[in-house]
Symmetry: C2
Subunit: 217 residues, 2 copies
DNA sequence: TAGATTGTTAATCGATTAACAATC
DNA sequence: TAGATTGTTAATCGATTAACAATC
């Protein structure tokens, strides 16, 4: 009946959501250059987007501007950061301490977006017990205990493709609700689990297709 | 006038394209299990897609099935691989031989999709001259010459965010037409250049949003 | 004031879903 | 034959684009 309830139900449109980090990145650069106000016309031009779309996206995160002046860069950044929730620190575990896994353990950029790797897990005895960037590599067998103890709900998979499905199962049994999968395979998991398959094959296909569209094979 | 011309013009619908690698991965697993024929009903069930959509996507890559029997797994795989063009080997250069860059140099999985890193480039004297997985790390200053010499048109960026934009410019001046960017920033480049920004911030935002939609913050 | 810019409402476009006919 | 499955055509849905009114 009341529209307050109705509007809360729907999630963010996916296309909108995927543009928000681009706006944020762009605005931070502008902020560094000392820009105080910016128009959606300018933003749209630079980011190759239609200005009305930019305005709608910004309205979505609660931002508003002034006719003739535009939007205040600082408050726009706050709006976006708030909406994206980068302030909340979320502890995650990582399975697969191979080269990619260890790269992620070292990569402090995750922290900027609120993702904090607390421990890695592997099956390889040679890796178990080591520390990478201050984070321990533990035996995969201990994953359930650690997850429950620390109340971990998010996980990253960087195992080989062959191990990914099994590891994902183990994680889910340990209370994990969301999985960010970098293993080159598509995980098939229960509907209540959130998965994001980060798939290079997919990216390569998209790149090739964009090239083909522009007439270059 | 003739519909032959008309139909060629349009590119693949993006949603379709992004599902194709998932089908391929799924079908290869089925092939391993010895499955010879498969229905779109089954595929749709397993991959959480509507069966008509699966059928349309498969029609797109030139596959066809038989009523009552379904699609032949082997030929479906061929169709997909053909369409995705994983057989053509494309030489690429990589800029930024830091930890992520070196991880990619070691990762032979790229080869499976036709991507072959021929050389890496960096600005760091300590790295220049080293070999990683048989591939040389060269001085970034030599990138233009090497690209022109070997007729390289594709590049990967794994530099820090601060260097990415400049490196991209250098690449474009050296004949590069497509850039796969892993630096945590959105590149703004001429329209004729194809860019794919592989952005973790974006992924994290999507993951969070999926969780929110399911009622878990 | 005039003009740039915001913000909203309507029209278009494309992809997904549904209904149904064709086939083995 | 009957039923499962393909393949096509029409209906729905959601996002983008366009048109326009409001405002500083």
């Amino acid at each position: 009946m009341t529209e307050a309830v109705k509007s809360k139900e729907k999630g963010v449109p996916k296309p909108t959501l995927s543009r928000l980090p681009a706006y944020l990145d762009y605005l931070k650069k502008k902020q560094n250059e000392g820009t105080e106000y910016i128009s959606t016309t300018k933003m749209g031009n630079d980011l190759e987007l239609y200005h009305v779309q930019v305005r709608k996206d910004l309205a979505y995160v609660g931002a508003s501007g002034k006719p003739k002046t535009g939007y205040e860069v600082n408050s726009l950044i706050s709006n976006l950061e708030n909406f994206l929730g980068y302030e909340d620190i979320i502890p995650v575990v990582l399975a697969g301490a191979g080269q990619l896994g260890r790269t992620f353990m070292c990569y402090d950029g995750f922290a900027e977006y609120g993702v904090k790797i607390v421990a890695a897990f592997d099956i390889d005895e040679k890796l178990i017990g080591q520390y990478v960037n201050g984070k321990p590599i533990l035996n995969i067998k201990d994953l359930p205990d650690i997850c429950r103890e620390l109340n971990i709900r998010r996980a990253i998979i960087t195992t080989p493709a062959s191990a990914a499905q099994e590891v994902a199962g183990l994680m889910i049994n340990s209370g994990v609700e969301a999985i960010w999968n970098f293993a080159p395979t598509y995980l098939v998991l229960p509907k209540e689990i959130v998965v994001l398959n980060e798939n290079f094959a997919n990216s390569i296909a998209i790149l090739r297709n964009k090239l083909k569209e522009k007439g270059r094979g």
